[in-house]
């Protein structure tokens, strides 16, 4: 093992310190970086900058598929486009039929709740982002989207599609952000069953077509076909966003908990556009505000009693 010593490396060039010493320095630096990446928050700024540095490369890596999509779109025939427009027009009409009663229902609801006027929607602002790349593996279910800190995206922001909840912002760079999907095996999402109001936690399975609800007791009322919406308890998503539909309920009498599977409503692998949402602070359906969540800061009451 004499070759590992510094003597051989020094005899080669004699320029600067030996490989062994330099490797030692980088190893120490690596361990320090790893430690602070894990335990300290201040490397986030470094990561933010690094994300920006790596962004052109990320674009380059995904340019072949982007170019292919572009080509495909540019060469679609008139008939195809016309069909698409007709389809969209039909969809719009269907949506209009649903929403035409919405205003009336909302004011009715407000009267029932004793409010003076209908509340505005819980979603205050939205931003559409395009998917640059994706990873759908067992260990990771992530998307890279071309919106970042420069566009006002923040860490932990809810991300949805037209059909349902997609995930939340996991890491941001100036021009891009990484989204952890609800199907990621490290992601859990508090939901409720719309029909029965049973609360549950939907865990990702690492498979983009299924969610698991492992903590529901046997006797709770959850049936196949039930719609699950966000419960607003997780401090990330506002209440009432559609998440998934229950596909399988297994009740093994020897077990304490039921085995429930659900399929996410958002077409996780097919969507190329995602929507970042900002909720209206103080709205009843909104999650708790950051000020109220801060442990150190005293909670200031929003309304001072007369």
């Amino acid at each position: 093992m004499a070759v590992f010593g510094s003597a051989t490396s020094r005899s080669f060039g004699g320029r600067g310190p030996s490989f062994g010493f330099r490797f030692f320095c980088y190893a120490v630096l690596s361990v320090v970086l790893m430690y602070y990446d894990r335990h300290g928050g201040f490397l986030d700024t470094a990561r933010y900058g690094l994300q920006a540095a790596i962004y052109p490369l990320q674009l380059a890596v995904n340019s072949p598929s982007a170019a292919w999509n572009w080509l495909e779109e540019s060469f679609t025939t008139r008939e195809k486009l016309q069909a698409q427009v007709d389809q969209l027009r039909n969809d719009l009409r269907a949506q209009q039929l649903v929403t035409i009663r919405h205003a009336a229902l909302e004011s009715e609801n407000a009267t029932l709740r004793g409010l003076n006027a209908a509340m505005p929607d819980v979603i205050e602002r939205r931003l559409i982002g395009e998917v640059i790349s994706f990873e759908f593996s067992k260990a990771r279910q992530r998307l890279l989207v071309n919106r970042g800190g420069r566009h006002g995206v923040y860490k932990g922001q809810p991300v949805v599609t037209g059909d349902g909840v997609l995930g939340q912002v996991f890491r941001i760079g100036p021009f891009s952000s990484e989204i952890i999907l609800i199907t990621d095996s490290e992601h859990g999402l508090p939901v409720t069953d719309v029909r029965s109001g049973v609360p549950a936690i939907a865990l990702g399975t690492g498979d983009s077509t299924s969610l698991e609800l492992p903590y529901v007791p046997q006797n709770h009322d959850v049936k196949v076909g039930d719609l699950l919406v966000t419960s607003g308890l997780g401090r990330v998503f506002p209440h009432g966003l559609p998440v998934a539909r229950v596909t399988k309920v297994e009740r093994d009498p020897t077990q304490l908990l039921a085995q429930i599977h659900a399929v996410p409503l958002a077409g996780i692998e097919s969507d190329r556009e995602v929507i970042f949402i900002w909720e209206r602070p103080g709205h009843p359906a909104a999650t708790a505000t950051p000020e109220a969540l801060a442990v150190e800061a005293p909670v200031t009451p929003a309304v001072t009693p007369p």
């Binding site: 070759v3 590992f4 051989t8 490396s9 080669f12 060039g13 320029r15 490989f19 062994g20 330099r22 490797f23 980088y26 190893a27 630096l29 690596s30 361990v31 970086l33 790893m34 990446d37 894990r38 490397l43 470094a46 990561r47 690094l50 994300q51 540095a53 790596i54 490369l57 990320q58 380059a60 890596v61 995904n62 598929s65 790349s133 994706f134 990873e135 759908f136 593996s137 067992k138 260990a139 990771r140 992530r142 996991f170 890491r171 990484e178 095996s185 490290e186 690492g206």
Partner: protein, 159 residues
């Protein structure tokens, strides 16, 4: 310092960049689980044939770029690749006298070490560990080594 001018610095830069792209380009899952660490392969090449062109810094930086790209714990790949580069550099005189096929045994050992370091750090940092198929990656990498070495070898004049 006229020695330094002959070092194929640009070749190192571009080949490592290409390796980085090959490493992260989206592939179907069954292919991507056995995709070897191209960055480590190219770094091993340069560590053997031009150990002073990039030093330890280039491998470390390439590994760091990979970490940022894949969203791993910062410096986990950086440490692994720097370690591999260091060992290859220490042994470069002996390795240069071997044929490419003989070298691939060493490459197999190095890729396994690389994978082992990454696996260890993933476990330590509490991230979910990728599938057990990952242990096939060094094998695939070792089989690809002669081709990659020939390919990268064309980018500079070997002495």
């Amino acid at each position: 310092m006229n020695l330094a001018r002959r070092e194929p610095r640009w070749a190192v830069f571009f080949t490592v960049l290409l390796a980085l792209i090959a490493q992260v380009v989206p592939l179907p899952e069954w292919l991507s689980v056995v995709r070897p660490s191209f960055v480590a392969l190219v770094i091993i090449y340069w560590s053997i044939y031009a150990p002073h062109a990039g030093g330890i810094f280039a491998p470390w930086l390439a590994g760091l770029a990979l970490d940022v790209f894949k969203g791993d714990v910062l410096a986990q790949n950086a440490l692994a690749v720097a370690l591999v580069a260091y060992i290859a550099m220490s042994l470069h005189q002996r390795l240069r006298n071997q044929t490419l096929v003989q070298q691939s045994l060493f490459v197999f050992a190095m890729l396994t070490l690389n994978e082992f370091v990454v696996w260890g750090i993933e476990g330590w940092s509490g991230h979910p560990v990728a599938s057990p198929w990952r242990w096939l990656q060094p094998m695939v990498g070792a089989m690809l080594w002669p081709f990659i070495a020939l390919l990268v070898g064309r980018t500079h004049a070997r002495s």
